[in-house]
Symmetry: C2
Subunit: 81 residues, 2 copies
């Protein structure tokens, strides 16, 4: 059966986020001063799995094998039908 | 007072997403066939605003002036204290 995994990947606390820094700088120049910016990526992935548990395991495998770098990223997985 | 805006930016329906295509291909090669992949970016932005309405207006301004390209992106804004 088909499942939809929402995988959110962000940088671990303390990691430099040069994109956030560049955006903060640009927003300031446009008249939008900011106090803090974090960036995340979201992948919405539809795939076939035997059951909910199998879907979670597959989504975790996708993160660990490809989508996230465990040294610098944290990730969250939410699976639903 | 400080507000936190969660801004989610994705491609409009029908727009090509070459990153999603590349990920789909790579996941397939790793033994994770997928049916559909969408990618989104999330910006978590903390900034000062007079009230909730002012914060929403500023967040919308950030999207329209810098973060999103209205021709190809849709965006969602969620503001909280």
């Amino acid at each position: 059966m088909m499942f939809l995994a929402t995988i959110t990947i962000g940088l671990k606390e303390g990691m430099l986020d040069p994109e956030a820094k560049a955006i903060s700088h640009a927003l300031g120049n446009l008249g939008f001063p900011t106090d803090d910016i974090k960036t995340e990526r979201v992948f919405l992935i539809r795939f076939d799995a035997a059951d909910h548990r199998d879907a979670e395991e597959k989504a975790r495998g996708m993160c660990e094998r490809l989508l996230a770098n465990p040294v610098i990223h944290h990730y969250e997985i939410e699976v639903r039908r």
